[in-house]
Assembly symmetry: D2
Homo-oligomer: 377 residues x 4
C-alpha cells in the first residue's frame, strides 16, 4: 500500500476491503511521504519493519529485488490526487498490478499517459469507483443492457453531501484540507471528489457515454478555492439526455448517491441509502423490488454477494467486490485461464480516463458562456 497512513480515511477502507475475503495479505507499505509516519503506521498494522518503506520509490525498488514469490503483487495506491500518477506509473512499469483510488490522476494528460504506460506493461489496473461494486448496481446495469427497459431516454444521477457546508478546511480537518486545495486535488473540488463517482455510475448503469454537457459550477462557501457544488445538463450517445448533480453543501445530507434511468418501457432507481434494493418501474405493471441475495437476480449480482437476502451488504462489501474481482481476474490469468465476465467487471483505465475528461470538461463548461460543449477525451 502506498499512502493511507494514520488519520487517512480511504486507506483504512482499502484495507478493510482487501481483507474481507482473505484474498489479499498486506505485506508492505509506504504509508506516508514522512518516513517516520510511514514506519509508525506500518507498525500499527503489524507489518514487518523491513517491508515498511519511506517512499514509494524505495518500496518499488526494494520489492522488485525480492524473490517473485515473496514480493508484493498488487499495489494499492491511496494517496491524494496529486500523488496518484507517479507511483502508479512506476509500479506499472515495474510490473506491479495497481489498485488506485479515484479520480485517477491530477489531470487528463496524466491519465492518458498512464493509459499508454499500462498498455505497454503486463500489469493489470483497477480504479476504485466503489459504487459499481454494489450487487444492485450490477443488476441495474444488466437490466438496462438486457433491453428490458427499451432504449434509454433519461438518466439522472445525484451525489449530495453536506459535510463541506462550512469552511471545514479552516479547521484541522485533514479530509477537507486536501480536497479543497488545488495543488493536491486538481482543478476540481466536488466535481473531482464525488462528481466523478456520479459520472461513472451514470455511464456504468446506462451503458451510454456522455457526449455534450452544460454545467453550472459553484463555490458556495466563502473562502473556498475549489468548486463545492454543481449541476450539469447532459447529452448522451444514443440521444438520451440527463442531469448530474454533485454538491458538498447540501447541509444534512450524508452520501446518498442515487441513479435513475428511464427507457421506453420502464425505469430503474438505485440509491446508496437503500443499497440492497433496486426499484424497477414499469409503464403498465407494478414496480418490482429486486433485492441483493435473492435467487432471481443476474449472475453479476449474485457473484458480488456474500450473505443471504435480508442480511444487508454495505459500502465495504461493495469496495471489497472491486478487490475481489481484481484478485479473481489475476488468479485466473496466473492460472492461464480466462477470467469469468463477472470477475472482469471492475473499473479500469478507461473509466479513469473518462473520469479525468469529465473533470476537465465540466470545469471548462462551468466557466464557459456557451451552452452546450462537447465532451472531449
Amino acid at each position: 500500500m502506498i499512502g493511507g497512513g494514520k488519520g487517512a480515511f480511504i486507506g483504512a477502507v482499502h484495507r478493510h476491503a482487501a481483507a474481507l475475503d482473505g484474498l489479499y495479505e498486506l505485506v508492505a507499505g509506504a504509508f506516508s511521504s514522512n518516513p517516520e509516519t510511514s514506519r509508525a503506521s506500518g507498525q500499527l498494522l503489524g507489518l514487518s519493519a523491513d517491508r515498511v518503506y519511506g517512499s514509494y520509490q524505495e518500496l518499488i525498488e526494494r520489492e522488485q529485488q525480492l524473490p517473485e514469490n515473496e514480493r508484493v503483487q498488487v499495489l494499492s495506491i491511496v494517496t491524494p490526487n496529486h500523488l496518484h500518477f507517479a507511483p502508479t506509473k512506476l509500479a506499472l512499469e515495474n510490473g506491479f498490478h495497481v489498485i488506485l483510488d479515484k479520480p485517477m490522476t491530477f489531470s487528463l494528460a496524466e491519465a492518458k499517459e498512464l493509459q499508454a504506460v499500462l498498455a505497454a506493461s503486463n500489469a493489470r489496473f483497477c480504479l476504485t469507483h466503489t459504487y459499481t461494486g454494489y450487487p444492485m448496481v450490477k443488476e441495474a446495469r444488466q437490466l438496462v443492457a438486457s433491453g428490458a427497459l427499451g432504449a434509454v431516454r433519461k438518466v439522472y444521477v445525484e451525489y449530495p453531501q453536506g459535510w463541506l457546508s462550512t469552511f471545514e478546511e479552516g479547521s484541522d480537518n485533514k479530509q477537507a484540507s486536501w480536497r479543497t486545495d488545488p495543488s493536491r486535488s486538481g482543478i476540481a473540488g466536488a466535481m473531482g471528489d464525488i462528481g466523478t463517482h456520479a459520472f461513472n455510475l451514470l455511464e456504468y448503469v446506462s451503458g451510454l457515454a456522455v457526449t455534450q454537457l452544460c454545467a453550472d459550477i459553484n463555490t458556495v462557501v466563502a473562502g473556498r478555492q475549489l468548486d463545492d457544488d454543481g449541476a450539469v445538463l447532459l447529452r448522451l450517445s444514443s440521444g438520451a439526455s440527463g442531469v448530474l448533480v454533485a454538491t458538498q453543501v447540501a447541509a444534512g445530507e450524508e452520501n446518498n448517491i442515487r441513479v435513475r434511468v428511464y427507457g421506453e418501457k420502464g425505469g430503474l432507481e438505485w440509491q446508496q441509502v437503500d443499497a440492497n434494493t433496486l426499484q424497477v418501474k414499469w409503464l403498465d405493471k407494478p414496480t418490482e423490488i429486486r433485492r441483493t441475495g435473492t435467487g432471481y437476480v443476474s449472475s453479476f449480482a449474485q457473484h458480488n454477494t456474500r450473505t443471504p437476502s435480508g442480511h444487508p451488504e454495505g459500502y465495504l462489501e461493495a469496495f471489497a467486490n472491486l478487490y475481489r474481482n481484481f484478485a479473481l481476474t489475476l488468479q485466473a490469468e496466473q492460472a492461464g485461464q480466462k477470467p469469468v465476465p463477472e470477475a472482469l467487471d471492475f473499473p479500469g483505465i478507461e473509466e479513469g480516463v473518462r473520469g479525468m475528461a469529465f473533470i476537465e470538461n465540466v470545469i471548462a463548461s462551468g466557466r464557459s458562456t456557451q451552452k452546450w460543449t462537447e465532451f472531449i477525451v
Copy 2:
C-alpha cells in the same frame, strides 16, 4: 363551474375539493362548449336545468341577472389552457370571484392583462397550484421563512411522470390530446402542465424568485408537437442556485413531485408520495420527521389539516385547502373582517403571472444557444 364536463379529469377534482368542507354548493355550470354535453353533465351533477348553460357567456350574463343572494358567487374555471383567459376576464369584470386551473392563461400577455383586470375589479382570484395546499408544504415554507435553515443555497425540484412515454395523443386519450396540442395547451407541453407546478412549489417553499435560467427542453416521443421533457438550471434571488426537472417520459413514474431546499444549517425535503411527512435535515443533529396533524407544527400547517396525525391527508385535501382558504377569505371580507394570514395563503394572480413567465422563459431558453438567460416577467 365552467368546463369540467363528462370525461374531464380536473373538473371532478375541483368538485370534490369544493365539496369537502361544505363551504361551496354547486349551483350552476357551463360544462362544455357543446350545449348538449353541458346539459347532460349538469343533469348528472343534479343541477337544476335552468342553471346549466350552453356557454360561459350565457352563464355569466344570466347569473348576473339573478338576485344577489341567489346568483353564483365564485366561478371555478377548469377548461383547457386556451379557454382560461376569456371566461376569467368576463367573470372578473362582472364581479364574480374566480378559481382558475393552472397554468393561468395561454400566454404571458394574457396573464398580464388578467392581472390588470383583476386589479380593476372587486373580485378575488385563486389559481389552483395544488401542491402548495399540502400541510407539510406549508410547514416547509414556514421553516425556511423562519430562518432556521440559514440562508438558502440550493433548491431542487422535480416532477417526474411517465404517462406520456408513448404516443398517447394518437389514441383516444382526451387528457393527452389537449395537453400535447399547441392550439389548446400553448407553447409548452410538460413545462406548462407540470413544470409550472414545480416552479411554483420551488418559489413558494424557498421564498426566493428565479432570476436566470438555462434550459434543456426536449420532445422525446416521436410525433409529439410539444415538449414532454426538460431540465433547467436556475439562479435565484439571494444568490442561491437550483435545478428543476419536469418530465412526462419517465416511464413508471406516477406524480412524485418533490422539493428539496438546503440552507447554511440544514435542509428540507418533501415529496408527494409521502405527503404528510416533512424531512428536516441538520448539519449536526438527527434528521427530524415532521408530520401532518401533530401539535408541534406551525399554525399554517395546522390550519390546513382535517384529521389527527397518522390519518393521511391526500391530494384532494390539498386541493380543498385552496378552496377552503379562498372561501374563508371571502367570508371574512364579506363580514368586514381581515382574513387570517393562514386563510390568505393561497396562490393568486402573482403566481399565475410568474408561472406564465416561466413557460415563456423556459421555452425561449430551451431554444437559445446562450447559456444563461434572464427570467423576464
Copy 3:
C-alpha cells in the same frame, strides 16, 4: 346526523366523507343531547333551524312526518358507544337507513338485537370500519381471495397509538374522557376503540374468521379505568394463526394500522402510513408494489379511487368510500337494480356483531387463566 356537535372529532370526519362525492346533503340533525348545543351546531353547519332537533327521538318522529321526498333518507349516527343502540334501533324501525360509527353497540347483546331489528326492517345499514375503504385494502382482500398467495397461514395486524400514554382523561380532553369511561365506552377501551378496527381489517383482508384467542390485556397508565393496551394470539378458520396488537400507549406512534397476511406462495403488507401502496411479496420473485390509481389493480380498488396514481388518497377518501358505496347501493336499489359487487362491499351488521363479539371475547380472555378460549358470537 345524530351526534357530532361542536368539538366532536368523528362527526366532522363523517361530514367530510359524506360531502366529498356530492351524493349526500346534510339537511337535519340532532347534534347533541343538549338542545342548546344541538341548535348552535346546526346553525354553524348552515342547517335550517326547523331541521335541527333537540333529541334523536324528536328528529326521527318529526322527519317521519315530512313528505317522503323531503325527509332525511340516511341517518349518520356518530355518538359515543353507549348511545349507538337506541337511536339506531329507532331509526331502523322507522325505515331510515343508518350509517353508524364503530364499535356497533355497547354490548354484544345489543348488537344481536340490532341485527334482528335490521333483518325485520326495509332499511340498509353501514358500519364505518374506515380502513376497509382504502383502495389498497380492497386490493389486498381481492388478492387473497384470488388464491394467488395460496392458503393463508399467518396473519398479523397491529394498531399502535401513543396518544393515551399519559392520563389524558384527567385533563380537558373530550376524546380521551369518553373513550376511557366504562359507562360510555363499554367494557373495553383500546380493544373497543382500535382493537375492533384491527380485528375487522384482519378478517376482511384474510377472508378468515377468528375461532380461538388468547389475550394479554393491560391497563398501563395509572388511574385509567379501561384497557389501553393489548396483544392477542389468534387461531383462525382454515387453521391459520395470527397475532393482533392494539395499544394506545406506544408513545410517539400515530395511527399506523398495519396488516400482513402470508400464504403458501407469498404475502402482502399494507399500512396506513403508506396507504396507497400494497406490497406483495413472493417466495421466488421480486416484491411487487401495487399502487392506487393504476390500471392493473382489481375493479374493487379502481372503483374506490378518485385520482390518478401518484396523487395520494387518504383517510377521508377511505371514509368517503363507505358513504359512497352505501349511496350507490341505495340508489341502485331505489332504481330497482342490483348494486354492483363493488358498491356492496361496505361493512354492515355482520361486521358489527363480530366486532362486539371480539370485544367481549378478548376482554374475557384477558381475564382468564385459560390459554385458548373459543371465539363465541
Copy 4:
C-alpha cells in the same frame, strides 16, 4: 475454526467477520467431522496442511503442543447446535478463547455446564448474537439505558423469514436439513434458530429480562419435525409487557428482524432492512432519525462504526464488531489493561444461558394449556 467446511453458510460469515479488521489470522481448522472434507476445506482456505485437523479433539490436542506464540489463541466454533458443547468445553478447559455460534448449546443443561466450565477457566467466551453488533442497536440500548424514553412499557420484536415456507429439508438443502432435524438442532426449530436472536435483541435493547411467557408454537409445513413458526406474549421485569414473533413461513420475507421499545415519553424502532437508521419517536415532538457514522450518536455506536455516515454498514460489519470487540478485550487484558466498556459490550455466556432457557421455556409454554408460565433459568 471448528466446523464451517465447504457448503456451510455461517462458517464463511465468521471468516469474513474475523478478517475484516485484520485482528485475526486463520491459521488452523477442523472444518468437518469428515477428515477428507476438512483437509479440502483447509486447502481452499490456503491453510498450511499441518494445521488442518481431522477432528476438534485433534486440533485442540495438537495446537496445545505448539509453542504459545504459534498456537491458535481463539477458536471459532461454527458447527450445528448439537456439536457446540463438546468442542467448546474442551477448548475452554484447555485455555483457548472461544467464539461460538448461537444457540449456545443443545440444551439448557449443557449451557449451564458450560457456564461453570468457563467460570473455572482463564478463557474468554463470545456468543455471536450478530444483531447486537449493529451500531444503531448499540445506540438503541444506550438510549433506553439513558432513561430518555422513561420507564419501558412495551417491547415488540419480530423475526420473519420465508425460506422454510416449503419442505426444503426434503430437497438437498444443507441449511434446511440440520435446522429442522431434532437430533442436530435440539427441541426447537424456528425458536432456536431465529427466536433466540429476537429474544436476545429484545433483552439487549430494553435492558429488561423476560419473566413470564405465553407461547403459540406451530409447525406449519407438513412433514416438518420442528416448529417453524411462533408468537409469544411476554411479561418482563419492571412490569413491561411485549410480543415476540419468529416465523420461517412468512413467504416472501427475508430476514427483517425488527425491534420496537416504548417508554413513557417516547419509543424507538430498529429493523435490519434499514440497519443504519434508528427511529426515535416522541410524544410531543418530531421523530428523530439517528444514523450510523454521525457525530451525535453515543460512544458505543461510534466505536462500532468503520465508515462515514451515509456509507452503509451491513451484516458482516455487525458480525465483525463482535469479533473486533472480543479481540480488543483480549488484547487489553493481555496487555494488563482494563478493556473499555465499548469493547466489553459483546454477548457472552449469560446471553447463551438465557437463550437456551428461552428455547426450553418457549417450547414448554407452547405445549402447555396454562396461559402464563414462569421463565425459568
